[in-house]
């Protein structure tokens, strides 16, 4: 994607809110999938640490 030709002098990277290009749709879908996966992993990590704080008590007894 880098090095697109004909870039304007002063870049304003915005456009109409509606996205029509199939490429962008696909890029967007991938992003969404990635976000879902990341969130799942992170929630598991958070839950694990919460439990660990209790396990620590039991272990150190």
């Amino acid at each position: 994607m880098p090095e697109a030709a004909g870039r304007p002098e002063k870049p304003i990277h915005m456009t109409q809110p509606k996205m029509q290009h199939a490429a962008i749709d696909q890029y967007d879908a991938e992003r969404r999938k990635g976000v879902r996966r990341t969130v799942k992993i992170l929630v598991v990590i958070a839950a694990a640490f919460f439990l660990v704080s209790f396990v620590q008590i039991v272990l150190m007894k």
Binding site: P2, P11, I12, M14, T15, I24, T38, V39, S53, I57
Partner: protein, 538 residues
């Protein structure tokens, strides 16, 4: 992607909902939510600050003049909780919200509705917590560390625990959002090692948050069940162990202090190159240093517990681990200085605060190193020396970085230039009075004044009075800040350019000032030379 950039009639509120309620209460826009966070942090800063003024007023001279000791303890406890969880952390989240999508070329945060929720939890959490001050038994008075058994004597424990749970949930959701955004929403071409250091610092901080906020939640939950449900986690009468709480608390607590400084490192690493007009020295080393500090922060917690009577081996281990942190921290300081060396510097207000940060944070780091030496800490621990240490790293560290960031990005947010004259007034007043306020506290601690006491022997009178005077004037100086902000947001006639600062680099400066409601709806085309670290291979 040639359709990026044809639209030039954006107004400030392009696409923003019309009604006030819809815009601010139901917002899913990262900029509006960022603003909410920042405004909330500012309000909390003044509330926490007013507690500090009362504390310094009581400590102005020996003898009790203004309040009962128990109320004094409520003030110190609330001051810390409000400043840490209400001012510093939300301010960084606000800056992250505003700037991370702009810096990586994302249209918004990855999870905009969760973003709204993580903010709107906070006002409720703090209303709950602050309301305890008006209850019959008073607010929490056992210190922000909430050590049992003392904290179990408080009538307001349940309120505070619930408030801490809410803050924790808010922080975890915020952190998940930030990581998801950084890992998935970057514009094509924005590789990880081309990201601004601020984004890196937030990525790492967010991992710290996800790891330790649940641990804090666990610790305070155990306090709650000990008090109300007959468990004996920490109750020695029932076979529990009060020291165990401290281990769990500081397993959260030490990473927590880095949660409050790593984003500050990121901010300073953005500002210094801009005003030195020279790329940051050792980009990769900077990122690596942040990561190693974050890692080490998990294995140093017991340096807060050197005086609880740990086994000798543990004291030695935690001392060595703590001292190790000084190495990556030193690298960061050296790199900032080297960034300035050979630059072409100007000294606008953000740069002034950044320079003050480097010097004064380093002084806090020095006292940190001294505190790490166990035998010396036997003397320093729980004295004003520690108070001086953490205020140097938190006020002249974290807070100064937040102020620097505010001046740095305010023109991008509001589209107007703030008054440089009054901002400099704010800077010079802050930097002078903050030292009058906190430097003498080193002496007080060395001479033997414990922390968290409402009254003291007359030998400590001189430096306490000096410190209080510094405190009042530092507090007053922040009213200048408020004035500069109000003027710079609504009244200033001077329009900001898109790039704002001559030496500024990065995607956030390629969008108009003020940044329109929606940016990068379509991913931008990234040109390495417009990034601050686009060509980095060191």
């Amino acid at each position: 992607m040639s359709h990026a950039a044809t639209h030039d009639h954006h107004d400030d509120h392009h696409g923003a909902p019309k009604s006030f309620f819809q815009r601010w209460f139901m917002s899913t826009n990262h900029k509006d939510i960022g603003t909410l966070y920042l405004v909330f942090a500012l309000v909390m800063f003044f509330i926490g600050g007013s507690f500090a003024m009362l504390i310094r007023a009581e400590l102005f001279t020996p003898g009790m003049q203004l309040m009962q000791p128990y109320f004094f303890n409520q003030l110190t406890t609330m001051h810390a909780l409000v400043m840490i969880f209400g001012a510093i952390m939300p301010a960084f989240v606000g800056l992250g919200n505003w700037m991370i999508p702009l810096m990586v070329g994302a249209p918004d945060m990855a999870l905009p509705r969760m973003n709204n929720l993580s903010f709107w939890i906070l006002p409720f959490a703090f209303t709950l917590m602050l309301s305890t001050l008006f209850m019959a038994g008073g607010g929490p008075a056992g210190g922000w560390t909430m050590y049992p058994p003392l904290s179990l004597q408080s009538d307001s424990l349940a309120y505070v625990v619930f408030a801490v749970h809410l803050m924790g949930i808010s922080s975890i959701m915020g952190a998940i959002n930030i990581i998801a955004t950084i890992l998935n929403m970057r514009a094509p071409g924005m590789e990880l090692l081309k990201m601004p250091v601020f984004v890196w610092s937030w990525l790492i901080t967010a991992f710290l948050l996800i790891a330790v906020m649940p641990v804090l939640a666990g610790a305070v939950t155990m306090l709650l069940t000990d008090k109300y449900f007959g468990t004996n986690f920490f109750n020695p009468g029932g076979g529990g162990d009060p020291v165990l709480y401290q281990h769990i608390f500081w397993f959260f607590g030490h990473p927590e202090v880095y949660i409050m400084i790593l984003p500050a490192f990121g901010i300073i690493s953005e500002i210094i190159p801009t005003f030195a007009r020279k790329p940051i020295f050792g980009y990769k080393a900077m990122v690596f240093a942040i990561a190693s500090i974050a890692f080490l922060s998990f294995i140093v917690w017991a340096h807060h517990m050197f005086a609880v009577g740990l086994p000798m081996g543990a004291e030695i281990f935690f001392m060595y681990a703590t001292m190790l942190i000084a190495v990556p921290t030193g690298v960061k300081v050296f790199n900032w200085v080297s960034t300035m060396w050979g630059g072409s510097m100007t000294f606008e207000t953000p740069m002034l605060f950044a320079i003050a940060f480097v010097i004064l944070f380093t002084i806090g780091g020095f006292s940190g190193l001294m505190l790490a030496l166990v035998p010396a800490d036997f003397q320093y621990h729980d004295t004003y020396f520690v108070v001086a240490h953490f205020h140097y790293v938190l006020v002249t560290g974290a807070l100064f970085a937040i102020i620097a960031a505010t001046y740095y990005w305010l023109p991008k947010w509001s589209g107007r230039m703030y008054s440089e004259f009054w901002a400099k007034m704010h800077f010079w007043n802050s930097v002078i009075w903050v030292n009058v306020l906190f430097f003498p506290q080193h002496f007080l601690g060395l001479a033997g004044m414990p922390r968290r006491i409402p009254d003291y022997n007359v030998a400590f009178a001189n430096f306490n009075m000096i410190s209080s005077i510094g405190g009042f004037l530092f507090g007053a100086s922040q009213l200048i800040f408020l004035g500069v902000l109000i003027h710079g947001v609504w009244f200033s006639k001077k329009k900001a350019t898109d790039r704002v600062w001559e030496g500024a680099k990065g995607l956030e400066w390629t969008v108009p000032s003020p940044a329109p409601h929606h940016t990068f709806d379509v991913p931008p085309v990234i040109h390495d030379d417009e990034l601050a670290h686009g060509h980095v291979n060191d």
